[in-house]
């Protein structure tokens, strides 16, 4: 079957279960397409040969009761994978091979999936365009020299470009939803505490969450069902009753109340984004849901709050990369000199910028004015959502204030780059689930996404809304295979 890579996860699982396809067939197809797609630069490390071996082994004695039977998949290179190099997109970890597996990937392999390789991302997940990766920028399959978004840029590119049927990313301020929006795929950031952070290279611990990225909502629901488990190895993991997201998925959202927050109508937002939002409002109404205008008054403080909290945590989380124990080490005259050279040479500019911001806002004399105040504002932002959820079941917003931009377009303007996350960041600060679904195209033909934000632990509800809208939107991603020679 030549169109294996065009199939959704759901179709592939069905075909493997019906024995129409073997894991080897599927794995081979994705490996072949991945090999022809080096121009996308989606992979940092491939694991193709072992993947094929695993597929063959699976086929010898296939366990078809598993949720991901023999399904190959590549994952963001922020997840530690046992015996497979894990770089976090950084030079400082360019030789790091973990002896352990992250809980989220462990869950995936336990359900029968097979690792294809490790996908490119912004260095330590710090970026919105995948341009901060030590391993080079990633091309968006939509168009040449277009960023795929970030930080899960390699993941988004690999799913949109059909190099992997599904993948997982991580989302600290929008790193799943924004690239999903830029590449025309579905991406879910689960509730904070839903997926274990154990074995994920940390960026900002109070915001980081792993989540699924897929071609459609159903695939996304299935993968979420696999990765979301309570984990005693992560003290922030929450033990709540998790749904069978894919089984319980329904398009019936009649009577659901959807909030439309006026504060997301930001200055200078392109008309096509506003139009898309209006279309989205119409879609949910067509599905039988009701829309209600709401206010999230502290929205405009979200971005500055985020750019204090996230760098503060990052500056401390990244202190362990000091050349002493593992990873890159530069030669130095003494300990301090070694630290300075290792970290100056090992970290890229954006990471260094955030470490400096983080160190500054935590410094004595500035802590109260920045970090402490940011924590207070964070609480206000969360309160906004709590208030809103007294009236509505979910909230609908655009995913991003623009479509994908050209590679290099914003690299010299960090603030304009940071503005990309304006609609996604509040969700992380409040610890809520949010999903981005492709909802249309801009005038250049680039995909645009809509975001549905849910109540904490209410992934099922936003998946259902997304599922219902998906049918009405009937989005078709325009993938021309331009990069395949």
């Amino acid at each position: 079957m030549s169109d294996i890579t065009k199939q959704s996860l759901t179709e592939l699982v069905e075909n493997i279960k019906n024995k129409k396809l073997s894991s080897t067939d599927v794995t081979k197809a994705f490996i072949q397409r991945s090999e022809k797609s080096s121009e996308l630069n989606a992979y940092i490390t491939d694991d193709f040969a072992p993947a094929l071996d695993k597929a063959k082994k699976f086929d010898q004695n296939p366990n078809l009761d598993l949720k991901l039977p023999g399904i190959p998949m590549a994952v963001k290179d922020l997840f530690c994978t046992k015996n497979v190099k894990t770089t976090a997109g950084s030079k400082i970890l360019n030789n790091f091979v973990p002896t352990y597996e992250s809980t989220v990937t462990e869950n995936i392999w336990n359900e029968g999936a097979i690792l294809l390789g490790k996908l490119n991302c912004d260095e330590f997940a710090m970026g919105s365009s995948n341009e901060t990766s030590h391993f080079g920028n990633v091309q968006n399959p939509i168009d040449k020299n277009l960023v795929p978004g970030g930080s899960s840029g390699g993941s988004a590119s690999a799913v949109a470009g059909q190099l992997t049927p599904i993948t997982i990313g991580t989302d600290t301020g929008g790193s799943i939803r924004q690239p999903a929006s830029f590449t025309g795929i579905v991406g879910l950031k689960p509730t904070y505490g839903s997926c274990s952070r154990y074995g994920i290279v940390a960026f900002a611990s109070s915001l980081d969450q792993a989540g699924p990225m897929a071609q459609n909502v159903k695939d996304c629901a299935l993968l979420q069902e696999v990765i979301s488990t309570y984990d005693s190895k992560d003290s922030t993991s929450i033990n709540f009753k998790r749904n069978h997201y894919s089984k319980e998925l329904t398009k019936n959202i009649k009577g659901k109340k959807i909030g439309i927050p006026k504060e997301y109508r930001v200055d200078g937002m392109p008309k096509e984004i506003e139009d898309l939002w209006q279309k989205g409002i119409q879609y949910v109404k067509d599905c039988g849901a009701e829309t209600i205008d709401i206010s999230l008054p502290h929205t405009s403080y979200a971005l500055p709050t985020y750019y204090i909290v996230a760098p503060a945590e990052a500056s401390s989380n990244l202190a362990r990369y000091d050349g002493v124990k593992y990873g890159y080490r530069a030669k130095g005259e003494n300990l301090i000199d070694m630290y300075e050279k290792t970290r100056s040479e090992g970290f890229g500019a954006e990471v260094q910028r955030r470490i400096m911001i983080g160190t500054y806002v935590l410094s004595s004399g500035y802590y109260d004015a920045y970090y402490l105040k940011a924590q207070k504002v964070r609480k206000l932002i969360k309160n906004d959502f709590d208030e809103a959820y007294k009236k509505v079941d979910a909230i609908l917003t655009p995913s991003t204030p623009s479509s994908a931009f050209k590679i290099g377009e914003k690299t010299n303007d960090p603030v304009s780059m940071y503005l990309n996350d304006i609609f996604t960041v509040p969700v992380n600060l409040a610890g809520l689930p949010g999903i981005s679904i492709p909802a249309g195209h801009d005038t250049k033909g680039y995909p645009l996404g809509l975001q549905i934000i849910g109540k904490a632990f209410d992934e099922q509800n936003i998946l259902n809304i997304a599922f219902a809208m998906e049918e009405k939107i009937n989005f078709k991603n325009k993938i021309t295979d331009w990069w395949i020679k």
């Binding site: 997840f79 530690c80 894990t86 976090a88 970890l93 790091f96 973990p98 002896t99 352990y100 992250s102 952070r197 154990y198 074995g199 994920i200 290279v201 940390a202 900002a204 611990s205 109070s206 005693s232 190895k233 992560d234 003290s235 922030t236 503060a312 945590e313 500056s315 401390s316 990244l318 202190a319 362990r320 000091d322 002493v324 124990k325 593992y326 300990l335 630290y339 160190t359 935590l362 410094s363 004595s364 802590y367 970090y371």
Partner: protein, 491 residues
Amino acid sequence: MNKKNTEYLINRKDNQYEVVIGLEVHAQVLSESKLFSSSSTKFGAEPNTQVSLVDAAFPGMLPVINEFCIKQAIKTGIGLNAKINKRSVFDRKNYFYADLPQGYQISQFKDPIVGEGKVILDMPNGQKEVGIERLHLEQDAGKSIHDLDPQNTFVDLNRSGVALMEIVSKPDLRSPDEVNAYIKKLRSIMRYLGTCDGNMQEGSLRADVNVSVRPKGSKEFGTRCEIKNVNSIKFMQMAIEYEANRQVDLIEEGKTIDQETRLFDTKKNETRSMRSKEDAHDYRYFPDPDLLPLEVSEKFIEELKNDIPELPDDKKKRFIEEFKLSPYEANILVSDIDIAKYFEEVVTKMGKNKDIKLAVNWITGELFAILNSKGLEISQSPVSAKNFAILINLIKNGTISGKIAKNVFELMIDGDKDPQKIVEEKGLKQQSDPKALEALIDKIINENREKAIEYKQGKEKLFGFFVGQAMKASGGKANPQLINEILKKKL
């Protein structure tokens, strides 16, 4: 410098200075595993053999609190009569060092697990209360070893992540003697609780010492210096003496004292500047986002309270009431949990007709002497409490004299022998048969007629001569009390 009565003052010309001391004691939590990982905490293992991925701060590794360590800290807080905080927060203390793998130490900064408490010291001139400011939990760092290689530093992470309790006192201590008493009391309480083994040689207990001086009578504190990481009481006392005198000298010379961190050089017996206040690290404390605030319920605390054994102060009170001991004796016996245990076992084993006073004298006399000479702890005593109790009973019931008992005790040491058997085998049993003794005394009086007459005429000193003769004739086994009685009658 002189000690006037009990006050510790430093004298210069016409001025007298008082020394103000506060201690930050780092006590290793007695626990099989570390504060945030399951690695062993055993002392003395090969370098880097007790290190988990969490302890070595591998990417994506997360701390998970060890509930046992929390219980230990709360128990210690209860033992210090302190407020237990139902909500406490773990913070990150950020700094770079080769033996600090995370690049930060997880500690408690603003919201410690234990708040204010107090400790009572028994000083020669009475009791003294020392305030406890707080107790918080934190991770220990690893160890940098600089002397194995001329070019490189080696790092041993076995200690990395081991749970420490930092117990901060109020600046209530006024002399090296009080510091000695305070450390010993803390150590004693924690050993009773089983929350810290108090082993200073292995580094389970060490302290940062804050010292300042002020003119006698002044209410304001002087500028303090912190002497880092002193690991024996003797060194603490030496460091305080040196540092207090250094500060007084500066004041006398009209100079000012810089607030700084100093190191104590044990070889030169002096403190040296390590870093000034300006050079102090900015630790950028902030709540560790990998750990939720620690919340404990009233029930959890109550259950631990029920688990608290009798502590030294209560035990002392009971010993005085129940056994009619003097406060001095009681103090000695309760100062260490193992001594108290030994004593109480001896009391139990002595049975109904016991002489506690005699047992106390023998424990603090003969037993302590032998332990001292052999450099042993009471837990390693060569004589078990059981055999010790038998020995005391043998004295008490007149089977052997105190003098013979000393010889028997010497023999018991080798292999914890039963004193009863020694007495039987060696025929050391005291002669207490009045008839036999009377016969013996009659014989002596007969043989020394002249002296007997002299005695009767008033030369009372000769009584001792007859006792001596009688003891000699019995081979030292005669019951001296009976000999006395019979002699008095017969002479």
